[in-house]
């Protein structure tokens, strides 16, 4: 089956561009006629991952694979890694610095949203090397 792939490079600390990759995927999926529900799930899950790469890592790469059955998002960063994934996944847990909290980030709901809005989610992280998160939304 045909798979369409989109690729994005996410810049670190650039809030003026943060979310653009997710917006772009959202509008592409809409144009392809993907159901509004699936579009919303992808948009939310990917945005949270994208923002985390901007805030907590040093930016990174996002690859989105689209087939008729599923949308797979792979987010790779070369940031500090996540020391305790279970803790990071807890609603309310955040290490966001004050500067980004004042923008409205730091509720500690990003990873829980990613889990909630994706049908599959895997986190692979190595301290000091980076984090790769794979999420799937079934169509």
């Amino acid at each position: 089956m045909d798979v369409i792939t989109f690729h994005y490079t996410i810049s670190p600390d650039d809030f003026t561009r943060a979310g653009e990759a997710s917006s772009d995927v959202k509008s592409k999926l809409k144009k392809m006629g993907v159901t509004p529900e699936a579009v919303r799930k992808v948009a939310i899950a990917m945005y949270e991952g994208e923002i985390n790469m901007v805030i907590h890592a040093k930016g990174g790469e996002i690859t989105v694979h689209i087939s008729t059955e599923r949308i797979e998002m792979v987010l790779e960063d070369v940031g500090p890694g996540i020391p305790d994934i279970d803790l990071a996944m807890q609603a309310g847990y955040s290490t966001a610095p004050d500067a980004v909290r004042s923008l409205g980030f730091g509720a500690g709901m990003g990873l829980p949203n990613m889990k909630k809005y994706s049908d599959e989610m895997e986190i692979h992280t190595v301290i000091g090397e980076g984090t790769t998160i794979r999420m799937v939304v079934n169509l």
Partner: protein
């Protein structure tokens, strides 16, 4: 009530009129933390917040909010104004507190149902 009808009430000051103003507003929604809004903002909501930065606009667009209403006299910064234009989202402002602004919308909506 559509976005256009809310604008026409004159209750709020319009900052940017976005696309699809004929969309119905489903309900008011109040939240200042982005990832809570991301997870909970109902589609078609009128999102009332005091966060006037561009990230609010990004989240509003991704969650398909009908419009953003900045409360407590908060004005959007320049980047937020640009984002509103770029994403074509209706943005309004008011000096009212968040709750009062949301209540005003809720009253108009429940008036319609009655």
């Amino acid at each position: 009530m559509t976005i256009r009808e809310l604008i026409d009430t004159g209750e709020f000051e319009t900052i940017h009129v976005g696309e699809r103003t004929d969309r119905s507003i489903t309900k008011p929604f109040c939240c200042d933390l982005l990832s809570i809004a991301m997870g909970k903002a109902p589609e078609g909501c009128a999102w009332v917040t005091v966060m006037g930065n561009m990230n609010t606009l990004a989240v509003a667009s991704l969650t398909d909010a009908a419009c953003v209403i900045l409360a407590e006299g908060v004005a959007p910064d320049e980047a937020a104004k640009q984002k509103a234009i770029e994403q074509n989202i209706t943005v309004m402002k008011t000096g009212l507190p968040i709750f009062e602004a949301a209540l005003l919308i809720e009253k108009r909506l429940s008036h319609e149902d009655a």
